[in-house]
């Protein structure tokens, strides 16, 4: 190491320049390097890991799995997955839910239950203290699963997948919590609703649609679209649209301006949670699309900003979400 330079990564700096002739400078640099390595290194690493974790779990598409630890109906259920919490309430097991995630949206009662953390930050201590006999975990929570396994807490493992997996999860969940008959009723009713929507749009023209679920406010940047797998894609196809990104075999992709221009969607549907979306904001955000004037959707004004969590949660309200999509895609007079 005779070389005069020492390099550090852009974000995590460690080490000082050796061979410095001034003691004071060396001390100053050491101080700075220590402060830099202590202060800077971990945070971007944490963010990167979190991002990769999200990516992994959005890419994974597996159905539900139930651990065979116990067969009797649980009395104290903790659900760390909002979609499954909705399912539990829908099949009449809501009164047995003693803990929920911090992301709960629906039903209102679910939000009142004690929060046990969420995907990245499950509060293991509270979960164990709640003496639950069934914990619903997301498939990527491997650390939590191994800890619960050591404590012999039964688990129900869930991961987001396609539309058909929603009703099959409801049935499996019903069997697991001793509400089998009711769960089958709910699932069948959802499937009947979905079938009705599919039939109502049969034979109608199917517009090529980009289903976006995120965009930077006020700009056509940082846009994410539903890819060719997952429940959002399935909902769009069922509601009578052709997914502009159907060939991309991922649950989501970044929709750059280039890919949007190349795919030329006839309809653009943005879905957002209702919070923070005033009517004025919707008007402002729709106008942003004028930046891509050749898009057929922009020319014909078929840009819809839907602020409704039914479209985002793969739970028992999917049929309502699909109906909303169908009404937007096939509204009378278009």
């Amino acid at each position: 190491m005779k070389g005069p330079r020492v390099l550090g990564s852009d974000r995590g700096q460690t080490g000082v320049r050796p061979g410095s002739d001034q003691g004071q400078t060396r001390l100053r640099r050491s101080l700075a390097a220590i402060a830099a390595s202590a202060g800077q290194a971990p945070i971007p690493t944490v963010l990167l890991c979190a991002w990769l974790a999200i990516l992994t779990c959005t890419l994974a598409a597996r159905g539900p799995q139930s651990s065979p630890a116990s067969t009797q109906a649980p009395a104290r259920i903790i659900s760390l997955v909002p979609a499954v919490t909705e399912m539990l309430f829908a099949i009449g097991a809501g009164d047995r839910v003693v803990g929920v995630s911090s992301y709960e949206i629906y039903p209102p009662e679910a939000k009142k239950r004690p929060s046990m953390g969420a995907l990245f930050d499950p509060d293991v201590e509270r979960i164990l203290a709640a003496k639950s006999d069934l914990v619903i975990v997301y498939g990527s929570q491997t650390e939590l699963m191994s800890r619960l396994q050591r404590a012999s807490v039964p688990m129900f493992r869930y991961e987001h997948a396609g539309l058909a997996d929603i009703t099959s999860t409801i049935r499996a969940l019903g069997d697991r919590v001793g509400r089998g008959p009711r769960a089958r009723e709910v699932a069948t009713s959802i499937e009947r609703d979905l079938d009705a929507i599919r039939q109502s749009v049969a034979g109608k023209p199917r517009p090529k649609t980009a289903l976006l679920f995120g965009r930077e406010p006020g700009a056509l940047r940082n846009m994410y679209a539903s890819g060719g797998i997952g429940f959002m894609h399935d909902m769009l196809e069922l509601a009578g649209g052709i997914d502009a990104f159907a060939d991309v075999k991922r649950q989501n992709l970044q929709a750059t301006t280039e890919i949007l221009l190349a795919r030329a969607p006839e309809v653009i549907i943005e879905v957002h949670p209702a919070e923070g979306w005033t009517p004025e904001r919707i008007v402002t955000e729709r106008a942003v699309w004028k930046g891509l004037p050749s898009l057929p959707a922009v020319r014909t004004g078929r840009i819809h900003i839907l602020t409704n969590d039914r479209l985002i949660v793969p739970g028992p309200r999917v049929a309502e979400g699909a109906r909303l999509l169908a009404s937007v895609l096939h509204a009378a007079g278009r």
Binding site: R11, A50, F213, G214
Partner: protein, 331 residues
């Protein structure tokens, strides 16, 4: 003194040529195949000409944004390394990117961005707050500007803002978290020229200051005492360097997000080629940084079409090993 300066000129010319070639070539490469005859055809109305729109709305602004951000970050890196007399300094060492990121996170998470005009102004505001805090701390107990306090205040502020960023993440929902994290990895799909035009005046002001700073920074890099005996107003130079480099960094981050590695790799690479004279290092770094980031962005958008990679990953993956190779080769 003149001979090394003259030896550096071909390098600057080569870097400038690389930048021009990169900016011209980049719009011709992409994940979609477009017909270049149609792009420049005047017989097709622009509104119907998808090929032209892909070229002029999606690709050309992207190449220009990459050049602007790359050149600016590289130059800011040079100035911060000179100012702090620390080869490990980056444009992000003093907490500017953390402040900018916090502003952007707040805009993305709470949707407040649409009220103040988007994520870019929010990130600029965050950067300005960070700069003000760091400057106030560094100037508080000294008549001048203490680079030690500057450095320590900067890295502490970095950690503090990063903690706040994590807290905002904690409050946000799943989709927002995803987009916020993605913003932190850098993205140059600017979708038009407005973001570039908005950042350009700030970059021009910063570059004019850099041009004035080149000579004083050379003297300052020996020692502050030596510089002041040669007639350099040390405090004035330090203050100008700090604010100009901060302005440049804030502008670059508001366009492309906190893209890493450019601000440290490019200056060091350029110094290996032309030596330490800031009159050579600054222009060469600007041109080379621009060419480098344009190239990285081309890789980011064409490596796995139609999926796009975060450009920050490319700068790290290409830049890191290349820099190491050059270092080993030289010694």
């Amino acid at each position: 003194m003149t001979s090394p300066l003259r030896r550096g000129v071909p390098v600057i010319v080569a870097c400038f040529a690389a930048m021009v070639v990169a900016i011209i070539a980049a719009p011709f490469i992409g994940s979609t195949s477009i017909q270049f005859g149609r792009v420049f055809s005047s017989s097709i109305p622009y509104a119907d000409n998808v090929d032209a729109q892909i070229f002029f709305i999606a690709r050309l602004p992207r190449a220009l944004a990459a050049a602007l951000v790359g050149g600016t970050l590289a130059a800011a890196g040079v100035v911060f390394q000179g100012l702090l007399r620390n080869p490990l300094a980056t444009p992000y060492t003093l907490g500017i990117s953390a402040g900018a990121s916090l502003g952007a996170m707040l805009a993305i998470t709470f949707g407040a961005g649409w009220m103040i005009g988007g994520v870019a102004p929010a990130s600029l505001a965050g950067a300005a707050i960070a700069v003000a805090i760091v400057y106030a701390l560094a100037a508080a107990r000294h008549r001048g500007l203490s680079t030690t306090v500057l450095l320590l205040a900067g890295v502490t502020l970095n950690a503090f803002f990063s903690a706040l960023i994590l807290f905002v993440q904690y409050l946000s929902d799943f989709a927002q978290t995803y987009r916020a994290l993605r913003w932190l990895m850098g993205d140059l799909d600017v979708a038009g020229y407005a973001p570039i035009v908005a950042a350009l005046p700030m970059v021009v002001v910063a570059f004019l200051a850099f041009a004035w700073l080149a000579r004083p920074l050379n003297l300052l890099s020996v020692s502050a005492e030596a510089a002041s005996t040669r007639g350099v107003q040390v405090v004035h130079v330090q203050r100008t360097a700090f604010f100009a480099a901060s302005l440049a960094t804030g502008a670059a981050v508001s366009v492309g997000g906190p893209i890493g590695f450019v601000g440290i790799i490019v200056p060091h690479l350029v110094r290996l080629l032309v030596g330490a004279d800031h009159r050579l290092v600054l222009p060469a770094s600007i041109c080379f940084g621009a060419a480098f980031l344009v190239g990285c962005d081309v890789v980011a958008r064409t490596a796995f079409p139609p999926i796009e990679l975060p450009v920050g990953i490319i700068t790290a993956v290409i830049g890191g090993p290349f820099f190491l190779w050059l270092l080993v080769k030289r010694t």
